[in-house]
């Protein structure tokens, strides 16, 4: 499995004018790792759940904002 967010640590200067954001992150959603959707992928149990998630397949769902948000974007 893959993670939906990646983290990196930008250089922090002692002379930065603003309080530094030490950890930055970016989104890496499922389409980057699937390439071609296999046949018979499990679907959400109800149509309503699928609508609310924006996709029929839980494995294509990408949460935003990052649910495990660390101390970024202050």
């Amino acid at each position: 499995m893959f993670t939906q967010y990646k983290y990196w640590y930008p250089y922090v200067s002692p002379h930065d004018p603003c309080p530094p954001i030490k950890i930055k992150s970016y989104s890496t959603p499922p389409q980057l790792y699937i390439a071609f959707q296999p046949i018979g992928l499990p679907q959400f149990p109800t149509a309503k759940e699928a609508l609310m998630h924006g996709t029929l397949w839980p494995q294509l769902y990408s949460p935003y904002p990052n649910p495990q948000k660390r101390n970024e974007k202050s």
Partner: protein, 190 residues
């Protein structure tokens, strides 16, 4: 191709806070370079010269982009229809009001009008599909930044739906590339 219009939105649009400034940001997805209009027109136009295996996909996605355009229009309309000129001014929409009153217009968040140079049709199927994948990723990112700026939970719910659709469309375009590569099911070792 014939379209049948169903008079309802693809996903419910509810706006719970009176914050016309959000309309200013949402216009980016209405008439901006990576917005829904650009997406719909790009795919609807490219599909004529693509191999027939993937034409249907572009028709379907272009049609869905039009339904997203209507969701964005609904959001912008709800956020501005009851605003006074003073409120629009406070929201940074005075220049919009001068030019358009409360009418919607195909322009980006900075007021730059829509232009066909936002989209491309190169005629090379791989080049065109790679542009489409990039367009979906850029639209996904734009939705992320609008969600970051918005504190309206109901509006954000609809925006998260639209962001997820960009992800699904990106995957479908990536699959279209794989189909055109035609090496998918052959065991090849390079």
């Amino acid at each position: 191709m014939v379209w049948y219009y169903e008079k309802k939105l693809q996903y419910p649009v509810k706006v719970s806070t009176c914050n016309p400034m959000l309309a200013k940001y949402l216009i980016e997805q209405y008439g901006g370079a990576d917005g829904e209009l650009a997406a719909a027109l790009r795919y609807m136009n490219q599909r004529y010269t693509l191999p027939d295996k993937v034409v249907g996909l572009l028709t379907d996605i272009a049609t869905e982009e039009l339904s997203h355009l209507e969701m964005i229009a609904t959001m912008i309309y709800k956020l501005t229809k009851d605003a006074t000129p003073e409120q629009l001014k406070a929201a940074g929409l005075a220049d919009h009001y001068v030019n358009h009153d409360k009418a919607l217009f195909y322009q980006n968040a900075s007021g730059v009008p829509f232009t066909a140079s936002y989209i491309q049709a190169k005629g090379d199927p791989i080049a065109d599909l790679y542009e489409d994948i990039a367009a979906e990723e850029k639209a996904r990112a734009t939705y992320q930044w609008i969600i970051d700026l918005s504190d309206d939970p109901d509006l954000n719910d609809s925006l998260k739906f639209l962001r997820e659709r960009e992800i699904v469309h990106s995957l479908r375009f990536r699959e279209a590339v794989e189909i055109l590569k035609e090496e998918r099911n052959t065991k090849k070792f390079f």
